[in-house]
Symmetry: C2
Subunit: 309 residues, 2 copies
């Protein structure tokens, strides 16, 4: 129970990329700088994709140039291809993350490539990165289900992990891209991956689309995973369901882990303050619960009628 858990926050990339309103570069920098002080282990800061594909993150270079780096934090950027990797290296990111869906249909819908074409492109990213000393990790989207294809055979996920490992990734993220994972499935699949690659650094990325986000974290913990991605405030959504939530909320995740006695190195109060600031920046309600309800350790005064007892 005293195992250290590492928290990765993805709000600046995954949360902001589908935000309906433009968030100014200086607000993004403020957000990342605030997150850098909270004790999270990694911050996914931006994405070096085409500005046409993701207009909200067209300021990737300016964001990376503007943030104050905390040496204890790993600053990650998503890169889709060799061109993105060149930009990310020029911006001096600490780590690059690649993304491919294990579902062919989802990968084509997302990046208009087959899975094989995506991996071929990643080989070029490794070529670009060679000698840079920068780590590259690989994310497998739709690992726990695809909104088009449904359940993904375990073999496809194992194949994806194997291909990434062959290419030389420093770690793999299994992502439940549209919130289809259930705890039984998570525990079984993660155990299988850990059995086959006991030394592999695994991170889990869950969505709370159907309310199971933190239950899936619990299943990941049972399977021995110590790295979890969350999105500050639970910002983001689900492209298939207006009103549905997206990524699990970082502060709710940290709150649960601390309640259970896990150490994360995160200052939860600072994280909650940062989430409130995020609410001001985006100007709308966020799905995070602890910001609204307070921590379980925030006690209330007994009602006044108690005075007479």
């Amino acid at each position: 129970m005293d195992k250290r858990i590492f928290i990765h926050d993805v709000v600046a990339r995954d949360g902001l990329q589908i935000e309906p309103q433009w968030v100014p570069t200086e607000r993004k920098i403020e957000l990342i700088d605030r997150l850098s002080a909270t004790g999270v282990a990694k911050i996914e800061a931006t994405s070096f994709v085409s500005p046409k594909a993701v207009p909200n993150l067209r300021d990737a270079e300016a964001v990376m140039a503007g943030i104050r780096r905390n040496p204890a934090v790993t600053y990650v950027a998503l890169v889709p291809n060799a061109r993105g990797a060149e930009r990310a290296l020029a911006a001096d990111v600490d780590e690059m993350v690649l993304v491919v869906s294990v579902s062919e249909t989802h990968n084509r819908a997302n990046v208009r490539r087959s899975v094989a074409e995506s991996f071929a492109g990643f080989a070029e990213v490794f070529d670009v990165a060679r000698g840079s000393g920068k780590a590259i990790t690989g994310a497998l989207a739709t690992s726990f289900g695809c909104p088009f294809e449904g359940v993904i055979p375990e073999r496809q996920v194992m194949d994806g992990v194997a291909r990434y490992i062959d290419q030389g990734v420093a770690g793999v993220t299994l992502a439940d891209t549209t919130g289809m994972a259930n705890p039984r499935q998570v525990e079984a699949l993660v155990r299988r991956v850990r059995e086959r690659w006991p030394e592999l650094e695994i991170a889990l990325h869950f969505h709370n689309t159907r309310g199971m986000g933190l239950a899936n974290v619990l299943a990941g913990l049972a399977a021995g995973v110590v790295r979890y991605e969350g999105c500050l405030g639970g910002l983001g959504g689900c492209p298939f369901a207006p009103g549905a939530t997206g990524n699990i909320c970082t502060e709710d995740l940290v709150h649960m882990l601390h309640s259970m006695g896990y150490a994360t190195g995160v200052d939860l109060d600072l994280l909650l303050a940062t989430s409130r600031r995020l609410g001001e920046i985006v100007g709308h309600d966020l799905p995070g619960q602890v910001v609204k309800a307070g921590k379980t350790t925030d006690l209330h005064p007994a009602p006044p009628e108690m005075a007479s007892h």
Copy 2:
């Protein structure tokens, strides 16, 4: 994994009692009748408390008289005292549920009695019920934490269970009244109760106030509990935190259990339709996620650009 899980819905009592608007008796009856067809095992239909204390449920007799009983469903009502028990028996409920908080401060705030005074009152309820053949169950509020006192010593919860058993309850519900439970605590406390009273029928009542509701269910399942209370749509809230959610959502609970391979006997599609109807009746958004996002098995057509691949 093929263990049968029993679902208790409490929306008609716990959900509606704090609803800001009056819900007409015929709408309550409609809601309970719809729930009766879904396959839930128990329905907490109303509360025989003082109409002054809970004006929203002042039509308890009319509700019980108006519903169509499904013989497969147990219809439960909350009774606070002997007078309530007389009314509940006259209304021919199947089962009565008593509630006391394990926290002295919370019990005084909630019912203006000490814990000992509450149990003394329950003895009168048992006197009234004697010979009626009706089951009485006991709920222990704030079993996993009190908003005034904080963590509740395990001994107090064990004492509460012991007192209820001494009085002759048919089962005990451990309730996380303000959403303070965490999964580690749930598993430890429930295991302790089950070790001491292996034959006791235990139900768990969780709130999702801090996002941990379904994670706590997972912990309850690990500890062997097969009965869970939920509130249709996740209706309700937290008296200490405007905007925070209350009870776990029944349909999200059933959805998770089915995803994991558990049998509940519940028709999830009917339950989802009933939740949508609840949204029309109360006229506002509800916290339930699966209603918004769809089931994980509801697949989407591949995007049109796929046609060319």
